[in-house]
């Protein structure tokens, strides 16, 4: 009889421990909202820093991964032997994305893409072959 009581008590104890573990896990969820969900990649931190402090001896281009004019601008610069550092704003999330966009608006208040910062200080908005050629000569 004692064995039955002991087995029942052990069973109840096991249930209590399992319930406590489930409750603990449930309470932890709000502290880490990403737990269990797919984490989104949020851009390269080094490129973010460059985007926020754009000082380089190479052209820097603020762009979107989806923007065909941006791709054509990059291709054009590379065809003219200019290595360009591209910062894709849509690779970033939340405040990083907003901060970079604020930076872009300092150079181009309309906020369109691409925005190319040439090493000589020239700012070229859009895929503008003639302007790019001019800027590359100087």
């Amino acid at each position: 009889m004692d064995t039955i009581y002991l087995a029942a008590a052990a069973g109840v104890l096991a249930l209590v421990i399992v319930a406590a573990m489930i409750m603990k896990k449930g309470k932890a969820a709000p502290e880490d909202p990403d737990e269990g969900s797919e984490k989104r990649e949020c851009g390269d931190p080094e490129l973010y820093e460059l985007g926020m402090n754009p000082v380089s001896d190479k052209p820097i281009m603020y762009a979107l991964t989806t923007c065909l004019h941006c791709k054509n601008t990059k291709k054009f610069l590379e065809e003219n032997h200019y290595e360009v550092t591209v910062i894709h704003l849509d690779d970033y999330c939340d405040s990083d994305r907003a901060n970079l966009m604020e930076k872009v608006r300092k150079y181009n208040p309309r906020g369109t893409f691409p925005v190319v910062l040439m090493p000589n200080g020239k700012v070229i908005v859009g895929f503008r072959k003639l302007l790019l050629e001019e800027a590359m000569k100087k």
């Binding site: 923007c67 004019h69 849509d90 309309r110």
Partner: protein, 109 residues
Amino acid sequence: MTPEELLEKLAKAAAIKGYHLHADHDFCLGTAESLIANKERYGYMCCPCRLASDDKKTDSDIICPCVYRDDDIAEFGACMCSFYVSAEHKDDPDFFPEVDERRDPSRGL
């Protein structure tokens, strides 16, 4: 949906308004791929030439075709991305006009 299928669908919808897709087919294919990528990322086909806020309500004016398309085509012959063009430019693969952004800078990011 493949980019080709999307192009076919968008071309039909544009024709109702008398618009055409750009004459450079590769450019259109690339734009269709970008629209599909945005649909997968945000859940809606945000304009590929503008930065999405990732909030459908905020971006409602720049879901392709954007609300600025009609005015852009009337003034410049193409939308800001040059994806949609007027009948006048439908056969010109080199037509990429500089289209001013009409969107209020206070909207979006």
